[in-house]
């Protein structure tokens, strides 16, 4: 069988090249740097500047009420009637369910599993807004780390043209190394036990495949709106 053949070939090959490869492997530290750029003073400022440089929107608010107000403004501007969202408990923003109800904005049914998958996808397609929470925000690249899973559908940051993400300043880390180390310490060996997917999002969907000219929103959201809640530590 091919598995055994491939592994056997690999072992034969490694018999002659393992020592060279191992030598190269010892040529440098395997320690993962927590971040790779000169550290900035303020993570929220750095995150904001980075994401804005990628044409992402960042709204800095002081509390949950401020965040809800901001989301309300975006919903109004986009004229949304249906949103594809994480379960409200997973987003964890006080007042958001009430806002959606008050505006008459429907929460789309996001479960596409089982029969009728294609039909349900067609029903989701017209939604103009995605709303999600995040696992972490990475300051030096303006990235969001999303840990998907039950109540946290991937489509809620993917399918619609506008993606709103709720980020708390306590979730900000400096670099990718930090974010991965944090995930490891938080979940240990169970990072993928309850979920099949972690996604890093760094700015709006983009392409430069035609004449190297940047164009936003090719397949994923063309706009990303991050509502950054900067609560003082004591207030939480």
């Amino acid at each position: 069988m091919s598995r055994d053949q491939i592994l056997s070939n690999l072992r034969t090959s490694l018999a002659s090249s393992r020592s060279w490869l191992a030598g190269e492997a010892q040529g440098a530290s395997h320690d993962i740097p927590p971040y790779v750029l000169p550290p900035a003073d303020n993570l929220a400022d750095q995150f904001t500047a980075e994401l804005r440089s990628l044409s992402g929107q960042v709204y800095r608010v002081g509390d949950d009420a401020g965040a809800v107000g901001q989301i309300g403004a975006i919903l109004a501007e986009k004229g949304a009637s249906q949103v594809i969202a994480w379960d409200m408990r997973e987003i964890g923003l006080a007042g958001l369910p009430q806002l959606l109800a008050a505006r008459g904005v429907a929460l789309a049914a996001t479960d596409i599993q089982g029969g009728g998958r294609h039909d349900r996808l067609q029903e989701l397609e017209p939604a103009s807004i995605c709303i999600s929470g995040v696992e972490a925000g990475i300051a030096e690249s303006g990235s969001l780390l999303l840990r998907h899973g039950p109540g946290r559908p991937r489509l809620a940051s993917l399918l619609a043209p506008y993606h709103i993400a709720v980020l708390r300043s306590s979730q900000l880390v400096r670099g990718l190394g930090d974010a991965l180390a944090q995930a490891r310490s938080r979940y240990g060996d169970d990072i993928f036990t309850a979920t099949s997917n972690l996604t890093l999002i760094t700015g709006p969907s983009r392409t430069a495949d035609i004449e190297m000219t940047l164009s936003l929103g090719i397949h994923g959201p063309q706009e990303i709106h991050v509502v950054l809640i900067e609560q003082a530590a004591a207030a939480r």
């Binding site: 490869l21 492997a25 530290s29 690249s141 303006g142 990718l176 035609i210």
Partner: protein
């Protein structure tokens, strides 16, 4: 493949005379080079990060047998299925039969060099399946019936006018010169393909052994859609693309994005471990990982093992002055540029003239200089040239010239006499200190360049004369 039926020299000649290709290539490579330089230059410690990237890759390869088995076991424990494919045929058959067994009609694909390597689309279409490339660049060249000309930007050889014409022909939309309009046309056309697809096929940037995960890096969102929306996800991974720990991504993703496009991170990085878990509302019901060997396990044991460190960032293509001049198609293989000149003779040895690709390099070393894992590409090109000579592929004129070369250089008397004759000859055919046309086999030189006429005395003769005079003066 159309590119294989004409000779390497004809492809090069065609490329060098293609004015729009030249414009497109210089626009793309200059942009990529500038973006990369800015992003790499901003790092706190560029050298250390690249050293670590190299060490991580080498360490993973040094226990590839163990890590690959670990990856497969973990994928299976997450509910995924693993196909070990020794060659393209096994991979193609597995995927086609899977599609048939599951009643798949329509397939969406996100960019995968491994699938290009095994000509997967062709096989799936033969099996009656509808396959759509969804990366914008790949979609464009699929409509055009072509192959990628760049690892990162497969359609850089196409102008906006050509793209607009393709969309007009195939999608019935009006002609436009607005790129944003074309992008939205592609979004609309492809969106329905995603929603109706039964299977998504993706490549893999990194397989993470300890988590049984595959990592897919992209900017458009087509890979996310391909791996989230259809009920079946098939990921194709070259067996060498492995890292031991999820934490290693903290280095590899950083050097990949910076080297490829100059981004700090690509827009989307999906880490996928198995099919959707119970309670997950989206994601595929089935996850299949195809581990493609196709010659890699053999390469690992030889003097080209270092080529397997490659993370397919494309930086060496952009930096290469030969690639800048001729573009990707001239190479004739799936992989182009400096790393393509190494990989093609190794992975596609039956490709006619694959042995010639290592000749298409001035050995300037720009590729190695930008490589995020510091692959010594020029050294490997030299070894491949030696392999070709050993295999008897050198031109008879070159063989004769080399015999003459050794005879001349190793016999000072012949060297001196030959030198005198050549210097005299140069003055016979040259005028005003320059030669405008050399005889064959050197006539290629004077096609676009002059050669100087040579002085009557060699340095060696001058030196001996000087020493003789000095001795006489001292006596």
């Amino acid at each position: 493949m159309t590119t294989q039926s004409i000779s390497f020299y004809e492809r090069v000649d065609g490329a060098l005379h293609d004015a729009s290709l030249k414009t497109a290539l210089s626009r793309a490579t200059e942009r990529f080079i500038g973006n990369r330089a800015g992003a790499i230059g901003a790092l706190s410690d560029e050298a250390a990060l690249r050293d670590t990237a190299r060490a991580i890759r080498a360490g993973a390869l040094s226990r590839l047998d163990e890590l690959l088995a670990q990856l497969a076991t973990n994928v299976e424990s997450r509910g995924g299925t693993v196909c070990w494919a020794s060659d393209g045929e096994e991979a193609r058959t597995y995927i086609a039969e899977l599609a048939k067994a599951r009643g798949v009609r329509s397939i969406v694909k996100s960019k995968s060099m491994a699938s290009e390597e095994i000509h997967l689309n062709h096989a799936l279409e033969e099996a009656g399946l509808e396959v759509v490339e969804t990366d914008l660049g790949e979609y464009i060249i699929q409509l055009a019936g072509e192959t990628p000309s760049h690892i990162i930007a497969p359609s850089i050889h196409k102008t906006r006018e050509q793209v607009s014409e393709l969309f007009h022909q195939h999608l019935g939309v009006p002609l436009t010169d607005d790129i944003q309009t074309m992008t939205q046309t592609a979004r609309t056309a492809l969106r329905q393909r995603f929603l109706k697809a039964d299977m998504g096929i993706s490549g893999v940037n990194f397989g993470v052994a300890d988590e049984g995960a595959v990592v897919i890096v992209e900017n458009e969102g087509n890979a996310r859609l391909s791996t989230t929306v259809p009920r079946i996800h098939v990921a194709i991974m070259g067996i060498e693309r492995i890292v031991a720990r999820m934490e290693d991504l903290g280095v590899m993703l950083q050097v990949l994005a910076r080297s490829a496009t100059g981004q700090k991170l690509s827009v989307y990085t999906s880490m996928i471990s198995g099919p959707a878990r119970s309670g997950e509302e989206d994601g595929p019901e089935e996850f299949h990982l195809v581990l493609l060997d196709n010659g890699r396990s053999k390469i690992l044991g030889g003097e080209y093992a270092e080529a397997l460190l490659c993370i397919r960032c494309g930086a060496c293509l952009n930096a290469c002055p030969v690639y800048q001049a001729i573009g990707g198609h001239a190479y004739g293989g799936v992989y182009s540029g400096p790393i393509g000149a190494v990989l093609t003779p190794l992975l596609q040895p039956d490709l006619p003239e694959a042995y010639m690709l290592p000749q298409a390099s001035s050995l300037c070393g720009a590729c190695q200089e930008v490589c995020p894992v510091r692959i010594a590409i020029p050294d490997m090109l030299l070894r491949l040239r030696a392999d070709a000579v050993k295999a008897g592929k050198a031109h008879p004129v070159e063989k004769a010239a080399m015999r003459g070369y050794v005879m001349t250089m190793n016999n000072p008397a012949v060297y001196r006499a030959g030198g005198r004759a050549a210097r005299l000859g140069s003055r016979l055919i040259g005028r005003k200190g320059r030669i405008r046309r050399l005889p064959p086999p050197l006539s290629g030189w004077t096609h676009g360049r002059d050669f100087p006429t040579l002085s009557g005395t060699s340095f060696g003769e001058w030196w001996e004369e000087r020493e003789k005079k000095r001795k006489e003066a001292a006596q």
